[in-house]
Symmetry: C2
Subunit: 327 residues, 2 copies
DNA sequence: CCGATTCACTGATCCGTTTCAGTGAAACGC
DNA sequence: GCGTTTCACTGAAACGGATCAGTGAATCGG
């Protein structure tokens, strides 16, 4: 850890006979002559000068970091999303600060506030509790882009919302079409407030389709969701189908079914939600979202917003059904 | 984005009648009276004061951020690792800056250097090319903890190495025991330098056991690895077993096998490496590493090293075989 | 040819902390 | 009772850039 001290802007100034201010401008290509820019660039290269991001952040108020607050990184699909967003942000010369709310609204609040205190230039959030009050304050002090569900308080800079009504309808209609009448719905653990649009819609649609449903919450982890599924599947009057609100939860159902010696779809049908790559392997019929499109949209919107280009936008993602063999 | 300006240390100083320096010390519990600490804390709470991490970083030289440079985040197991390390670092009040080398040595170099320029307090790296020269420079200017393979140049602050020799031996002996003689080995794409210890060991062990092997590289993604596997499996004289150097690659083999109408293990045996949660579901026999242990060790070591407690350590992880049904 | 612009650059200040080198007073040793 | 420590705190100088209000020279319009 020898720490050969890095060059400062002042040394570059000295080397070129310019003022530090001129060097600062030159390096960012502002109001200096073409020739000076070249001269400065060369001197900087020779000295191995690279502007210190910390000092730059202090002076300019911008850190180049975007917070990404995930609902639950136990969910493999959300992991893919996070990886994609991280990569995409790096391509735009930003760093992603990825945090995991782990399905807990309180933790979500804490982390969101910490991210703000950490001075991120913007925040992408996949809200656990879109109705929480603090979003208003947060959206007031930095650009927030919501993914999945729109935030109910405070105006976000932009939103990439999923048409969950359509997704739910697709899934339930498909189950009904395949002859299922009694279906267990497994949703990720949620805040106690039960007015989540998607959940409300599940109940409404089930009624419309004459489906007998039962909603249970489960954590995203394989072991947890398998435990919950196992309890349901081992009942004598078990439902004929399980509709899981994330593929990861569906994987848990597969696990539980395997342990109970039940076959999918022979003994129980499974419907997923999200379409993680592994689902193709397992033959899980699921509702697909355009992951790449979501990544690109979210990144584009948060970067634009953090640059002050504040065209407030709402992008709606449409689902499509990936019909495989699990139903 | 109203940006109600946050309180500064000067305002707290004013409110308490102390100097900014005293407030700074008080908040960190250094050389001030107990009573003053209490008074400062209360004033800070009232003003909603929270030290600006940027200014703090500039003055102290410490950012509280740890870089995590993954070999390839297309690999699901590495995703789990990254999620675990991120969570664990947050518990220790650090932020993880997660980057993905995507199996590319050049990219690994670029990102590692960028991470240093970003002023992370330490770096955890799962090296793609442990023999690269730049590690020496890097390890000179910040504490580096290597996971998986030890870095061959420059002394890292610490290492959490996998006993890959043992893992490889276990896997190959098991395959041999199950009657396989011709096995295809699929390893993640690597730098052209072929002196990777694990790879060398595979060849040596295969010879010792009288195994006829053939080594091919594949990217970690499902589609890519399936493509490579498909090419091998569709040959008339296909091997009887595939040994994949990561579970994600093994998943690709499953996909290829399914597409070709081959059954696992009936037509082809598959052996994985890493033991991702999904492997249990698929019945993939694989070599398991203690993920939690690795996470804890890496985080503990990098945090200690970044705090200057520089007890240089090398922790060796032992594998164990998860015998399931794929062989 | 003279006043107004534009251009290329400078000097100073600021961003909000930490930290170093004190400083005065109290406590201590003998 | 006098020098030495310790204690609790202060003032000022970093840290390394960005930015604002100039400034002198060249360019421009008429």
């Amino acid at each position: 850890m020898a720490q050969r001290k890095r060059a400062t802007i002042r040394e570059v100034a000295q080397a070129t006979g310019l003022s530090p201010a001129a060097v600062s401008y030159a390096l960012r290509g502002m109001q200096v002559s073409e020739e000076t820019i070249l001269r400065v660039r060369q001197a900087a290269a020779e000295l191995g000068y690279e502007a210190d991001p910390i000092a730059r952040a202090l002076a300019s108020g911008r850190t180049g970091m975007i917070g990404l607050l995930c609902g639950s990184l136990e969910d493999l699909w959300q992991q893919s999303l996070a990886v994609g967003i991280g990569r995409s942000l790096r391509e735009k010369d930003r760093y992603a600060l990825i945090l995991d709310a782990a399905g807990d609204p309180a933790r979500e609040r804490t982390l969101a506030l910490q991210l703000r205190d950490q001075r991120v230039d913007g925040l992408i959030v996949q809200p656990v509790d879109p109705a929480a009050r603090f979003w208003a304050d947060l959206a007031d002090s930095l650009p927030v882009v919501a993914i999945g569900d729109a935030l109910q308080n405070g105006h976000t800079a932009a939103e990439v919302v999923f048409d969950n009504r359509r997704g739910v309808t697709m899934a339930l209609e498909y189950l009904r079409e395949k002859g299922h009448r009694r279906v267990a719905v497994l949703t990720p653990t949620r805040p106690s407030t039960p007015d989540r649009p998607a959940d409300v819609h599940v109940i409404a649609e089930a009624e419309r389709l004459g489906l007998d449903i039962e909603v249970t919450t489960a954590r995203q982890g394989l072991a947890d969701s398998a435990g919950v599924a196992s309890e349901i599947l081992s009942r004598a009057d078990r439902p004929s189908a399980m509709f899981c609100f994330s593929d990861s939860i569906a994987y848990g159902v597969y696990k539980a079914a395997a342990e109970l010696g039940l076959s999918v779809p022979g003994d129980v049908a499974v419907m997923g939600y999200d379409d993680h790559p592994m689902s193709e392997l397992l033959g899980l019929t699921t509702v697909n979202w355009d992951l790449d499109g979501i990544v690109r949209a979210a990144v584009r919107l948060v970067v634009a917003a953090s640059d002050g280009k504040t065209r407030r936008r709402r992008i709606v993602q449409a689902p499509d059904l990936r019909e495989r063999v699990s139903v």
